[in-house]
């Protein structure tokens, strides 16, 4: 079926011996859903959900070829033949929905440590990785043979397991990219030196795999267009490499990327501060030199944008990972022209990349079912047998998600919101430079809510009487948090504000010198800093942490925040704990020196602190209605992901 609206996106494509039904690609990414280093039912369900949602081609996360590669705890050890029965389940499930599935084969090389393997790490040259910080062993020739055999063996297992083909990773975290890279490969033997010599290992692996699985098994390679490392691979070399591979003639497609997972991860999965489509230049360049299909990626998240990229000829397939993490039914909805119904990824990176960084299973700030498809995926939400009257107090992320789920189950839902518009704190977060996309959390939720018989009463400040007057069977308190003055002396002065005050516009028009005090470690303080600095203030940020924005590393916002902030003249003062404000001065103690320190004077002091849970109504109603629940910040002020997850689970429980 061709959609009139997205003609290119929903046209089939022949890739080697395989024809994919459309151009929507779910490319390889780390999920941490493996169990005992083998694929799991959870992982199968994760891919199957996207296939069910209409995605044309799925490429699994990396399948490792050798025991020396144990870069992270939950890596799949595909050299263990026990993977095959799991593969059969996975490919069967995906094929059942008409999608194609390839598996990525890889060895992480020197982008690893020996923590899990208790074996030396192998790499082309003994250059320690900046993240893992372990000197690898310069791989010997006999060991190169072992790696090649590992790739061939895994390719055979993939074929036996029912995959349509395989992708060689020579991109984010891979011994192949390391061999291709003049930065990582300093060898003087047959595998180092010229582009041809650096490509030798890749060619030998391709030939070994072809010898094992034949020409019909689809095989592509993912190339890194630019490592973004001094002395590393650039687009010029990648074009040369692609040309050589094209002439060699054993591959069926090229996939693309930029950056590496351990040097420049913040450019691999750009957050909302990086322009959409920022990696497409690689696919576009390769498309000039090859007839093979070329896949493009990089913060592509709506069908209009995807269609335009195809129409402009930049790529043949559109990789949309984070979008389909948030919205497994992207393709189905786009094909049907229900564009408004597509839940847009906000590129916040909190639960997909952030959880991966914490060695936890993948999640999504907007989609509680991500990584939990077996329990929460499509088809797991039965209608209630006993429709109840549910009053939800508060139309922030927790309240809206809860309302949506409760109404989907057939409950009668009323949402009471004290403000003039729904959205809770998200309304404020979007006011910060470059963080407007965050607001799509609410746009998406409001759209879903609008499709359901849910009554939202804005401007309704609910107390116990208001709620009881509704005669509810159940009440869900999603009243969020209330800003509170920081517990510091002198915080009651008029030039001391919280971040909420600042974003509500309660700050002075003109600020010369400002201090931002961070007591949270996330976007609150760094956003306030940019807000003030971009309006011309000279800003100092004081934090008890080791550096400002301690949690921004996980969301890949740290590097670029520093670049932006320092360019605006911001000064970062870490390792100090502010104790109070004496007039316009900040008094602090050095965390490690124990010395009393004075900073300022500042004409404005902004404190990023935790709010207070608004739980009064909850306690008032506790014994007055049949069931009372609490979700989100009303329970404890935390992040939007908690709010949405809790709202969702309560919605199911009602």
């Amino acid at each position: 079926m061709y959609s009139s609206q997205f003609k290119y996106l929903f046209s089939p494509l022949k890739i080697g011996s395989m024809t994919v039904p459309n151009r929507v690609l779910f490319s390889a990414h780390l999920t941490n859903l493996a169990e005992n280093n083998l694929p799991s039912d959870r992982l199968t369900a994760y891919y199957a959900e996207r296939a069910r949602g209409g995605c044309g081609l799925i490429i699994t996360e990396e399948q490792s070829v050798h025991p020396t590669d144990h870069a992270y705890e939950k890596l799949i050890h595909a050299f263990d033949e026990r993977v095959i029965p799991y593969y059969r389940k996975m490919t069967g499930a995906v094929h059942g929905y008409g999608s194609k599935i390839l598996a990525q084969i890889n060895h992480n090389g020197g982008q690893a440590s020996s923590v899990y393997s208790r074996l030396p790490v192998w790499a082309p040259s003994p250059i320690p990785d900046p993240m893992f910080r372990e000197v690898p062993k310069e791989i010997e020739l006999s060991e190169i043979r072992e790696v090649i055999e590992g790739y061939a063996r895994v390719a055979r297992y993939l074929k036996e397991g029912g995959f349509d083909g395989a992708e060689l990773q020579a991109s984010h975290s891979s011994i192949l990219r390391q061999f291709l890279s003049p930065h990582a490969n300093r060898r003087s033997d047959a595998y180092g030196g010229s582009v041809e010599k650096r490509l030798r290992l890749v060619i030998e692996i391709i030939e070994a795999i072809r010898a094992e699985v034949g020409r019909d098994f689809v095989m592509g390679i993912r190339l890194c267009g630019d490592e973004l490392i001094d002395g590393g691979v650039t687009i010029r070399e990648t074009i040369q490499t692609a040309r050589l591979l094209d002439q060699h003639g054993m591959l069926d497609y090229f996939n693309t990327s930029i950056g590496t997972a351990t040097h420049t991860l913040f450019m691999v999965e750009g957050s909302m501060h990086i322009p959409p489509g920022y990696q497409l230049f690689v696919a576009s360049a390769l498309r000039q030199i090859t007839e093979l299909p070329v896949f493009g990626v990089g913060r592509i998240k709506d069908p209009l944008q995807a269609e335009q990229i195809l129409a402009d000829g930049h790529a043949d397939m559109i990789g949309m990972v984070r979008e389909q993490i948030a919205e497994p039914f992207f393709a189905e909805k786009a094909r049907a022209g229900r564009v408004e119904n597509i839940r847009l990824c906000i590129s916040c990176n909190q639960e997909c990349i952030g959880r991966a960084g914490l060695n936890l299973e993948i999640g999504c700030i907007e989609n509680p079912a991500t990584g939990h498809e077996l329990e929460l995926g499509r088809g797991t939400l039965p209608l209630t047998r006993r429709a109840r009257k549910v009053v939800i107090v508060g139309a922030g992320p927790a309240g809206l998600e809860c309302a949506k789920v409760a109404a989907q189950r057939g409950h009668q839902v009323v949402v009471l919101e004290k403000e003039a518009e729904p959205g809770g704190q998200v309304r404020l977060a979007v006011r910060v430079p470059n963080r407007a996309e965050y607001g799509d959390i609410i746009r998406n939720l409001l759209h879903e809510v609008s499709q359901l018989p849910i009554e939202i009463r804005t401007g309704c400040k609910a107390d116990a009487a208001t709620v009881l007057a509704e005669k509810p069977d159940a009440v869900v308190i999603c009243t969020g948090m209330a800003p509170q003055r920081p517990a510091l002396s002198g915080a009651d002065q008029s030039h001391v504000l919280t971040v909420w005050d600042l974003l509500e516009g309660r700050g002075p028009e003109k600020v010369e010198r400002a201090a931002v005090i961070d007591q949270v470690g996330f976007h609150q303080a760094t956003s306030a800093v940019e807000w003030l600095a971009s309006r011309g203030a000279k800003v100092d940020v004081l934090t008890p942490a080791l550096y400002a924005g301690q949690d921004l590393g996980l969301t890949l916002d740290l590097e670029n925040w520093y670049r932006r902030a320092l360019a605006l003249g911001v000064t970062v003062i870490p390792n100090v704990s502010p104790l109070g404000f004496k007039g316009h001065q900040v008094e602090a103690i050095g965390n490690y020196s124990g010395q009393m320190l004075n900073f300022g004077p500042y004409d404005l002091i902004v404190v990023a602190n935790h709010g207070r849970a608004c739980d009064e109504l909850y306690f008032e109603l506790l014994d007055k209605v049949p069931a009372v629940y609490r979700a989100g910040d009303a329970l404890a002020p935390r992040r939007a992901s908690h709010a949405i997850n809790e709202g969702h689970l309560i919605g199911r429980e009602l």
């Binding site: 208790r118 060695n359 936890l360 949270v520 550096y547 870490p574 010395q595 404890a636 002020p637 908690h642």
Partner: protein, 649 residues
């Protein structure tokens, strides 16, 4: 005073000795339950003579999921798993207790995707995550959780339970004014703050019955004098909690939310830092036995410490990770043969998101008991030449000699120990030498000659006619790409610790590793009056130290010593009397640091592998390479490879 080897009577149970293997994170669990690996690990310590073994703490309620592999003590599937461990441990004579606790606000909502529970709305300073203030019904659920988990332990035949009111503990959070700001009957006065722990003790005592042991681990100093538990408070707390006679022993520990490093302190903290405090507690709790905490007391000093502080026993957790046979060796009068814990915290402190299995840098068998069965003699001894007397070479020599091979060690330097010896020259790192000294003593006992000042030449090979050569030649300095790095005043840490730093003025340490070497050099030089600054491109100086719980103490020492720490800084060029630097994030900030007359380059070594490549080409010789000669890494990899190669011969 009793010896540490004497039995300790606790209720109806008798521990065969007074060495306690305390609860600690292992990351062994599967499905959040104990398994075979736990059984092997604990049974190995029991076999070595530990008297009392407390298992890894199990959470008592699903609101508490502190780390991914934490045990779920409230899950009834734990009963058969407990039983499996109990059978293995009790067969060796030791008592086995379950560690029970709830981490409160020190748990993580990342792992559980649930809100964490706490006394009050105070965020965990490590993560800034805000907990839920526990409601009345939550407190009831918690008590029920303790009751349930304790009865599971009893059902499985364990000898009792140890309750955690030490580090990572909701009970401590309730006891302390630092974390308990409640205004109900669980907060405010000491009496109120004690209420929850008292209720838990009574509930647990009831659940396990009159015969089993109930121990209590108590943090007696939170190092937060503005609001936290101070030593004087802890005397009152200990007295109050033991007054009912329901608690059978106390372990006195220290540390809290702002002092995680004070609970299993690294080698920079004085040995026995909490023993005096334990003595005070013992004095006020009368007949209840008090055990000292895991704070670095050596096996040979254990009896003296018991006598000096009037203690009933000692928690020697890390010492038993390093040497499970500690008590056995004491009993056999071989105190000096105990492999000493050096309190490096590198492989044993594993509570982090990364689920590393507990082990020990100089006992690679720890946590991997099934990979390393007892050594057996070989049928045909071989002539083994070990080249290099660093940790890798010495370990390989030791294991090979134990298996009956005829071993000789050649070392080109005048002193054995390699990089580890060098590291132990730093002011606060002398305990590092334990890794070397213990191996040298063992090799002396085994009669393995160590030839110092003896480079291995082709003539040596001809003369010794070895069948096997183990190349453990270590690393060599890596050339730096920085402009000016070849100037004469640019040196490595080796020269610093050898006392060969040029000049008298300002020293800049350029750190690419983020680990101990830069600190060693900086502290060595600061102690000699030099003005020292460490620069690194990393987000903070010494990034690798966080995992060792050494970062805070080191930053404090740096502040005291006047060492300047400059993170996020790129060195662009070295000049004869200055260094050019800039911010990593702002290229236009380049400036000169003037008056620098020595630059210390801290970077990863390259392998010293020339000798290996030469030998490998020789026919008829079996050659292995191990440790830094393969790739310069840490002591842990060197010793692991030494152990494996020694076993493989």
């Amino acid at each position: 005073m009793p010896s540490i080897l004497e039995p300790l009577k606790l209720r109806a149970k008798t521990a065969p000795g007074r060495v306690l293997f305390g609860p600690h994170c292992t990351n062994f669990a599967t499905d959040n339950l104990p398994n075979e690996r736990h059984a092997d690990y604990y049974a190995r310590r029991a076999r070595g003579g530990a008297g009392l073994i407390v298992m890894e703490e199990a959470s008592v309620h699903l609101s508490d999921w502190p780390y991914e592999k934490a045990l779920k003590g409230y899950d009834e599937r734990i009963v058969p798993r407990y039983r499996q461990v109990a059978e293995a441990v009790q067969a060796q004579g030791a008592l086995l207790l379950a560690g029970l606790g709830h981490n409160g606000m020190q748990a993580s909502g990342h792992v559980s995707k649930h809100v964490t529970w706490a006394a009050s709305a105070i965020p965990n300073p490590a993560t800034m995550e805000m907990p839920k203030v526990m409601e009345r019904r939550d407190l009831e659920a918690l008590l029920e959780g303790f009751r349930r988990a304790a009865s599971f332990a009893a059902q499985a035949g364990l000898d009792g339970v140890e309750l955690n009111a030490g580090q990572y503990s909701l009970l401590r959070q309730f006891l302390s004014g630092l974390t308990n700001l409640r205004q109900d009957e669980y907060g405010g006065s000491l009496e109120n703050r004690l209420r929850l722990t008292r209720q838990v003790i009574s509930a647990v005592r009831e659940a396990v019955g009159p015969e089993r042991v109930v121990g209590l681990r108590l943090s007696c100093d939170e190092y937060a004098p503005w609001a936290g538990i101070q030593p004087a408070d802890s005397l009152e707390i200990a007295q109050a909690l033991t007054a009912s006679g329901e608690v059978d022993y106390l372990v006195v520990t220290t540390g809290s939310i702002y002092s995680i490093h004070a609970t299993s302190p690294a080698m920079h903290t004085p040995v026995g830092h909490a023993d005096e405090l334990a003595a005070q507690i013992q004095a006020v709790v009368g007949a209840v036995p008090v055990l000292g905490s895991d704070n670095g007391v050596l096996a040979r000093d254990a009896d003296a410490v018991l006598a000096q502080y009037n203690l009933a026993g000692l928690d020697m957790t890390r010492a038993l990770i390093a040497d499970p046979d500690l008590a056995l060796k004491l009993r056999e009068g071989q105190a000096d043969r105990v492999r000493p814990c050096i309190r490096c915290n590198q492989d044993c402190v594993v509570r982090s998101p990364f689920n590393q299995l507990v082990s020990c840098i100089h006992n690679p068998e720890a946590g991997h008991e099934s990979e390393f069965p007892a050594l057996e003699k070989v049928a045909r001894p071989r002539r083994v030449l070990v080249v290099g007397a660093g940790p890798a070479g010495l370990e390989a020599a030791r294991v090979a000699a134990l298996r009956g091979h005829q071993v000789v060690v050649y070392e080109r330097e005048s002193v054995a120990g390699g990089a580890a010896r060098l590291a132990s020259l730093a002011p606060t790192r002398t305990e590092m030498s334990g890794v070397i000294d213990w191996r040298l003593a063992e090799l002396a006992r085994l009669g393995v000659p160590i030839e110092l000042n003896s480079p291995v030449t082709p003539e040596v090979i001809e003369r010794l006619e070895p069948e096997v050569v183990l190349v453990a030649t270590g690393g060599k300095p890596r050339p730096s790409p920085i402009l000016g790095a070849d100037l004469p005043h640019v040196i490595g840490t080796r020269q610093v610790l050898d006392g060969a730093t040029p000049g008298t003025g300002r020293v800049l340490v350029i750190d690419s590793e983020g680990y101990q070497a830069a600190i060693n050099a900086a502290e060595y030089l600061a102690a000699r009056g030099r003005s020292v600054e460490i620069v690194t491109e990393d987000n903070f100086v010494s990034m690798g130290l966080g995992a060792l719980q050494e970062l805070g103490p080191w930053f404090s020492r740096a502040a005291t010593a006047g060492i300047t720490l400059s993170p996020m800084t790129v060195v662009t060029a070295i000049e004869p009397d200055a260094v050019r630097v800039r911010s990593r994030f702002a290229p236009d900030t380049e400036h000169r640091l003037e008056g620098v007359d020595a630059v210390v380059m801290v970077n990863y070594d390259l392998p010293e592998e020339t000798f290996y490549q030469e030998l490998k080409a020789r026919p008829g010789l079996t050659v292995y390479r191990l440790g830094d000669a393969v790739a310069p890494r840490r002591i842990t990899q060197a010793i692991l490879e030494g152990q494996r190669v020694g076993r493989s011969l």
